[in-house]
């Protein structure tokens, strides 16, 4: 129990006393927002997992690509 309390206060006081860390956390959060919202939603919104329902369809798509590209 004491261990959990110490650990909790470590995080609590650590975040409460941030100085340089405050700026760094703002940068981290802004960066994650841009990456996970803007980039993921607008530019990397489609993968084989989102595009096809099951692994058979995914395999077929890749096999089609592997075979059709033969010169």
């Amino acid at each position: 129990m004491q261990f959990i309390r110490t650990f909790f206060s470590l995080y609590k006081e650590g975040f409460a006393n941030l100085r340089l860390g405050k700026t760094l956390w703002k940068i981290v959060l802004l960066k994650l927002l841009i990456m996970l919202v803007v980039f993921k939603f607008f530019f990397f919104n489609t993968t084989l997992h989102s595009h096809f329902l099951d692994d058979t369809a995914r395999s077929n798509y890749v096999l089609d690509n592997l075979i059709k590209e033969t010169p």
Partner: protein, 509 residues
């Protein structure tokens, strides 16, 4: 044709992301160990100056870490959208190491990072020290898993291709994880991070000495940085030697491009300095270089551990060399086409549930699988990597690597035997060598990745086959956005770091 045009943008985007990502990674790898050593000195001696020194470098470590964290995430997005054929084809071989890396990084970072930064007065000094070491070890272990995945692309082993699913399935985890290419790649890459960490510490300490500020702190930091730097830069050279040996054994076209070697030779010399002849074409009689300085026998020694050994040139690899048992690329292209035809016939047989034909074609496919990727080429010359980029990047990397050994030795001599403060030339050299470390590391990655072309996976999958264009967005547009975002991040890092450095050792809590 649209897909073909997007391949170049996808490649450019991946290169941009990887290059920016690797501006942040090496400092994390190297500085984490230097901080751990400094804190160990604090615990051993009880001298409070060492604590301040540790905290100062830790604050710079935090800035680099915060700005760099998750920049690698974009590469994972790119794999899914721009490189879906590749991602599917590599199967769990790529997925398993990256998943281990993700889990490991998350647990290590969320627990021991917190203790390292928040725990100075909360946990015992020894537990704090343990956390600092674990952060260093954890960061380096993360790199290990990623470099295993990269090593497999350079030298695919420990797997079996399943023609029903179009995926490679891992048959032996240890063959993948402990492949000599993956291990040498890991050692060479982390060693480059250690050298960058040392250059950073020595260079910034030099700046303090030039400004006549924080003399005790700067000198102590410099001793740790230069000692660590000298040892790791020597190790970097050794691991580079092993890397070159592995490249010769498994990617001979890359080695030939790195050395501008068109015609193979026994007792081959290593080019110490050279200017490539831009008019040289494979198969003609033009000289390879406009001018060069060669170290005799060295390439044979480096590539085969024997001065008399034959080192294959690009012409041997493209047109074959029966004397040295080198198969011409045309034969490998023919084998690759047989493999591709067998894959196609296997599919047809599967649709018709013809078990006999399926087995027959799978056997043909597996027999020719080692040349599978060659089936996508028409001309043997298509297997040649970009020569000029590989050659110059390799020579920049090696030259800077040699300079770093000399620099660390010089700094150690002047700080231990003389008053280094009176030798501003040495201090300026240390300061201005910081960017050289980054240039050398990026040049090394360019050698590894551009030298591997035209392959995404050596001999199995050419880059243009690996690429897809599944996303709705325009790759060229997202490339520009990435360039802007990463440049802003880099400027932010430099600005915050400079501000923190200016505060000095006393203000770094």
């Amino acid at each position: 044709m649209n897909e073909l045009a997007s391949v170049d943008w996808s490649r450019a985007q991946f290169a941009l992301t990887a290059i920016y990502h690797f501006l942040f990674v090496p400092l994390t790898l190297g500085l984490s160990f230097i901080i751990a050593i400094m804190e160990t000195l604090y615990i051993k001696t009880g001298d409070a100056h060492w604590k301040k020194i540790t905290q100062f470098w830790m604050s710079l470590f935090a800035i680099n870490f915060a700005i760099g964290v998750a920049t690698g995430l974009i590469m994972e997005f790119e794999f899914g959208t721009n490189w879906a054929n590749y991602s599917w084809f590599v199967g769990d071989i790529f997925g398993a190491p990256l998943a281990i890396e993700g889990i490991l990084a998350f647990f290590m970072e969320s627990t021991f990072f917190a203790v390292m930064f928040f725990g100075w007065n909360k946990v015992s000094p020894k537990f704090h020290l343990l956390s600092t070491w674990l952060v260093a070890i954890g960061s380096n272990l993360s790199a290990f898993w990623i470099l295993i995945a990269n090593g497999w692309m350079q030298y695919p082993v420990g797997m079996h291709f399943n023609p029903s699913t179009a995926r490679n399935e891992m048959s032996n985890f240890f063959d993948v994880a402990l492949s000599p290419v993956a291990v040498s790649k890991f050692l060479h890459t982390v060693a480059s991070g250690y050298v960058i960490g040392a250059l950073f510490v020595v260079g910034i300490s030099a700046w303090f000495l030039l400004k006549n500020k924080e003399l005790l702190f700067a000198k102590r930091s410099m001793v740790v940085g230069a000692t660590f730097g000298l040892l790791t830069s020597l190790f970097l050279a050794l691991s580079g030697d092993e890397s070159a040996y592995q490249v010769t054994q498994h990617q001979p076209a890359k080695l030939a491009a790195m050395e501008g070697l068109y015609k193979g030779e026994s007792r081959a010399g290593l080019i110490a300095f050279g200017i490539l002849n831009p008019n040289k074409k494979i198969g003609d009689n033009e000289p390879e270089f406009l001018g060069d300085i060669e170290i005799p026998y060295m390439l044979s020694l480096l590539g085969h551990r024997h001065v008399d050994a034959f080192v294959a040139g690009l012409e041997d690899l493209v047109y074959g060399n029966p004397t040295h048992n080198i198969t011409p690329a045309s034969e490998r292209i023919a084998n690759g086409k047989i493999a591709l035809q067998a894959l196609s016939d296997f599919r047809k047989a599967k649709k018709m549930s013809d078990e006999v034909k399926m087995k027959e074609n799978e056997a043909i496919l597996q027999t020719h699988m080692k040349d599978f990727g060659y089936g996508y080429f028409e001309k043997p010359e298509q297997i040649i990597p970009p020569i000029a980029i590989s050659f110059y990047s390799f020579h920049i990397m090696v030259s800077f690597g040699m300079w770093f050994i000399a620099l660390f030795a010089l700094v150690l001599f002047f700080i231990l035997k003389r008053d280094i403060k009176n030798y501003p030339l040495v201090l300026y050299a240390a300061l201005w060598s910081i960017p050289l470390g980054y240039i050398a590391a990026e040049a090394g990655w360019i050698v590894a990745e551009v030298g591997r072309q035209p392959w995404a996976i050596q001999d199995l999958m050419p880059t243009h086959i690996a690429a897809t264009h599944l996303g709705g967005g325009n790759v060229a547009f997202s490339f520009t956005l990435f360039a802007i975002l990463f440049t802003v991040l880099l400027i932010a890092e430099i600005k915050i770091m400079l501000r923190q450095i200016a505060k000095g050792f006393e203000g770094a809590h």
